[in-house]
Amino acid sequence: MKLEADGIEFSYGDKKILHSIYISLETGKVTGLLGRNGSGKSTLLQVMYGFITTETQSVRIQGKKLDNVKKIKNIAYLPQYHFVPGNLKLKTILNDFNLELSELEDFSNQKMNLNMGFENLSGGQKRILEIFLILKSDKKFIILDEPFSYLSPILVDKIIKKVQEEKVNKAILITDHLYKHVLDISDELYLIQNGCTRKIKEKEELVQFGYLR
């Protein structure tokens, strides 16, 4: 399955953040999105997910245009911030998503208490739980915004492994400032610069376009 996004325009006041966008995700592939701080990566992801509405945009699955409701139905999205309500217990969260504690413990490499509230987990535990929920979601398109934040190298490796496993049946879009991990994990790569996306074929192009030195 293929998801494509283009024709997206987004401005903050007079400043055009996004204007010449094309990005495509395909089942079986991890697509990386790189860009400097403030380049509009997260905005683009939120438009693709249907969280931000813009005047012009086209997000299609197999060529069929999606409205915001259909986007949310087809795409799972991990935002930069914590999205699980703090008052929920781990038991409730796993139950909501039909997931087992043993799977989570295996993924996070640590024992967890089912009666623990989300707000009582450490920053890293919160992040790993949220990544787990999104990656194990039954949706075919997954968007991950800075999944490696707050995490130790061992957990980053676990996520990379899980992404590789899950991509068999899913299309995954990932963006993070830890660009080496994004380069390692991605089958396709885009750079967002001055509101436009460019498809990157060689790492040298990242230097050429001023993302790396």
Binding site: F51, V69, K73, P79, V84, P85, S137
Partner: protein
């Protein structure tokens, strides 16, 4: 997702909006309990105002809870299901308060 799970989730979401409902229908009424006619008048007015506020400002109310709503989106609830359910529960609550207090 089955209907019962959906209803449970919707009630959990409504809890996010509950403080505003309590504020409108309960706390303010305490100040006017001695005057029943006044309560009826105020209730009607508050209900009208609340609906108008909710319609006009739903997107700003909604954006303050947006991060938490994302959790429920991930569980396949749509924005429209959430908005409609919040309105329906709000109306039911209004009649419950009205029934007991008037």
């Amino acid at each position: 997702m089955d209907l019962i799970t959906k209803i449970k989730l919707i009630f959990r979401i409504y809890k996010l909006f509950l403080p505003s409902a309590i504020f409108y229908y309960f706390i303010l009424m305490i100040f006017f309990v001695p005057n029943r006619e006044k309560i009826a008048e105020i209730l009607g007015f508050l209900f009208f105002i609340k609906i108008v506020i909710l319609i006009i400002a739903f997107y700003s109310i909604y954006s303050t809870k947006k991060n938490q709503l994302l959790y429920y989106y991930s569980l396949q609830l749509t924005k429209y299901e959430i908005i409609i359910s919040v309105f329906i529960i709000d109306i039911i609550l209004f009649y419950i308060f009205k029934f007991f207090l008037l």
